[in-house]
């Protein structure tokens, strides 16, 4: 049997069910490795002591019918966990201990999983490199001083470094798929309405979705099956029949029509990414899929649209952080001064920048010019996809326009940082499911990902296409464990 922490979720659950491994052994193995991996800075808060107790409890009375029997899992620190500090990577929530549980994490525990701890992320999920976190940047296990992507950077690093078998992240403009691409892991953003947003610290409510981040496509299907559910507590949760994603997983994609959008060829895109895309196309053909050239004419307008819609929603959502009911408070002579000092000291620079953008585009006299305009363009972007999906079953693109970059490289130029999400943002604006799978490496040996985009609620189809491509690509993420300490 291979080392415990390098096993996939599928292997671990099989080994537990066949009684080859206990939950206690598995939990201890991940905790031991985490103790030696502090240099990566993936954890904001650990739950190790309680996790050990819970694993013993599971072993003394195991239920092997559950989908995640005794499996320890760390989650992004954007999910509220009852009794365990939840910070959203922000000073303003540094001392916040929720008294309730998010639906998505509750789904994990109901299927037997055990909370290992809370993973670092960009502050309020605003960032593409995990550098905006109040708790410091995260190291990408792929190479020293490399960003792990963001905002789910602690999550992507933890999966790639074998510190959790799988994890869940959130994706508002690419925050699952871009870090997955940067770390050689798999990340899926489900259709808007698939996973409940209840108990997730809100960023931009019309775009936010939780989703699985895993080592491979099969694990991804297993985890999606657990976290996707209809929830009365989220008014935009959608009641539809969800697939048994792992049971229905199949490499048979013969006759599937896969669209290739010409607008995803951008200026200055490295040749390696172009080549990666071509390889993906030829693998899809080898599997019997039909390749069709398509056009998504408003692609170039997606990022500017996103940078109106997302900050506008964020400025409204983050109005609740005023130092009154919970979180950090900075004292003031009067109520207004207390608000202004609390928010000034409690939020980091990127969050303040986005609140300012959002406040401006929603302010009197500018609403029509910016916000309404953006909502109209969003309609056009959605229509592009509607038109494309009348001809194809799925769309194949690169996940990101570059591989992971150095820590500090883009922190002084917000717009260049925003460009990271050029291929992922349109999918959130249109509410579609998208998955990033590792597909190759660049000249520095850094991973690169391909993205498969699907019709609404068609996660099974993009999982199957990814499963078939994964088999052909045969990606190996040889990570050297350079960060381990004794």
């Amino acid at each position: 049997m291979s080392d415990i922490t390098s096993q996939s979720l599928f292997e671990l659950t099989s080994n537990i069910k066949e009684k080859k491994l206990s939950s206690g052994e598995i939990t201890k193995a991940f905790i031991d490795r985490a103790e030696k991996s502090k240099k990566l800075n993936v954890y904001v808060t650990d739950n190790f002591e309680k996790a050990i107790d819970q694993s013993k409890k599971f072993d003394s009375n195991p239920n092997f019918d559950l989908k995640l029997p005794g499996i320890p899992i760390a989650v992004k620190d954007l999910f509220c966990t009852n009794g365990v500090r939840t910070t959203a990577g922000s000073k303003i929530l540094n001392n916040f201990v929720p008294t309730y549980e998010s639906t998505v994490t509750q789904n994990l525990w109901s299927q037997g999983a055990i909370l290992l701890g809370k993973l670092n992320c960009d502050e309020f999920a605003m960032g593409s490199s995990n550098e905006t976190s109040f708790f410091g940047n995260v190291q990408n296990p792929v190479g020293e001083n490399l960003v792990p992507g963001g905002s789910s950077g602690g999550s992507s690093a933890a999966v790639a470094a074998n510190l959790t078998p799988v994890t869940i992240g959130t994706d508002t403009g690419g925050s699952i798929r871009q870090p997955a691409s940067f770390t050689g892991t798999v990340g899926l953003k489900p259709t808007y309405g698939s996973c409940s947003r209840y108990g997730i610290v809100a960023f931009a409510s019309s775009l936010d979705q939780a989703g699985p981040m895993t080592k491979n496509v099969r694990d991804c299907s297993m985890l999606l099956e657990v976290i996707s559910s209809f929830d009365q507590k989220d008014s935009t949760s959608i009641d539809y029949k969800r697939n048994s994603y792992s049971k229905e997983l199949s490499k048979d994609i013969k006759g599937k029509k896969i669209g290739i959008p010409k607008e995803y060829r951008v200026d200055n895109m490295p040749d390696e990414i172009e080549q990666l895309w071509k390889n993906g196309i030829s693998y899809a053909k080898d599997c019997g899929a039909e390749i069709i050239d398509i056009s998504l004419p408003h692609t170039n307008y997606a990022l500017p649209t996103y940078y109106i819609v997302a900050p506008a929603e964020a400025s409204s959502n983050l109005a609740r952080y005023d130092g009154v009911k919970y979180g950090f408070r900075s004292p003031g002579q009067n109520l207004i001064e207390m608000y202004e000092k609390t928010r000034s000291e409690g939020f980091g620079d990127e969050v303040k920048r986005r609140i300012m953008i959002g406040t401006y585009v929603l302010s009197s006299g500018y609403y029509d010019a910016y916000y309404l305009k953006a909502q109209k363009v969003r309609q056009l972007i959605k229509k592009d996809f509607d038109d494309a999906f009348s001809k194809v079953d799925a769309i194949l693109t690169p996940s990101t326009p570059s591989s992971a970059f150095k820590i500090g490289e883009k922190t002084n130029d917000p717009v260049s940082m925003y460009l990271n999400d050029i291929f992922t943002v349109p999918i959130n604006l249109a509410g579609l499911p998208g998955i990033s799978i590792p597909a190759g490496k660049d000249k520095n040996n850094y991973p690169l990902g391909l993205q498969v985009i699907g019709k609404p609620f068609d996660e099974q189809n993009i999982l199957n296409i990814s499963y078939a491509l994964e088999d052909k690509i045969n990606f190996k993420n040889d990570i050297s464990d350079w960060w381990l300490s004794e």
Binding site: N95, V97, T99, Y100, S206, Q232, S235, T236, I238, H298, Y301, L303, P304, T305, Y307, I308, D322, V324, K325, Y326, G327, F328, R329, P331, G332, Q333, N334, L335, M338, E340, K341, R343, S344, F347, K352, R353, I355, M356, I357, T359, Y360, S363, Y370, L372, K373, A374, Q375, K376, V377, R378, Q379, L380, K382, D413, P414, V415, Y418, L429, A430, G431
Partner: protein, 95 residues
């Protein structure tokens, strides 16, 4: 169009975030760069386009208006920044 310092200060007032002059100047530069990038949308004619209001094509559900959780006062006050068993405490509002 460009955003001047006075506008930056006005937005910060609306957003209830106090900023000093140095920060305001830095933000002015950042915001102008970002808005220059956003202005690209003006290339598009959207006169006859209906604004998207909901990405999920469903109508909001109705539910019965009933109490589902009781006696949660303690839970709600648990994370209160200033200790008081019955209320949230803020600086004096009425003179």
């Amino acid at each position: 169009m460009s955003i001047d310092l006075k506008t930056v200060k006005h937005i910060s007032k609306l957003a209830r975030i106090s900023i000093d002059d140095e920060k305001a100047n830095k933000l002015k530069g950042d915001l102008n760069n970002i808005f220059e990038f956003i202005e690209k949308l003006n290339e598009l004619n959207t006169d006859n386009v209906q604004a998207l209001t909901s990405i999920a094509e469903t109508t909001l559900r109705f539910r019965k208006d009933e109490i589902k959780s009781e006696n949660i006062r303690e839970k709600i006050l648990k994370n209160s920044p200033e200790e008081n068993k019955d209320f949230f405490v803020v600086p004096k509002v009425v003179e």
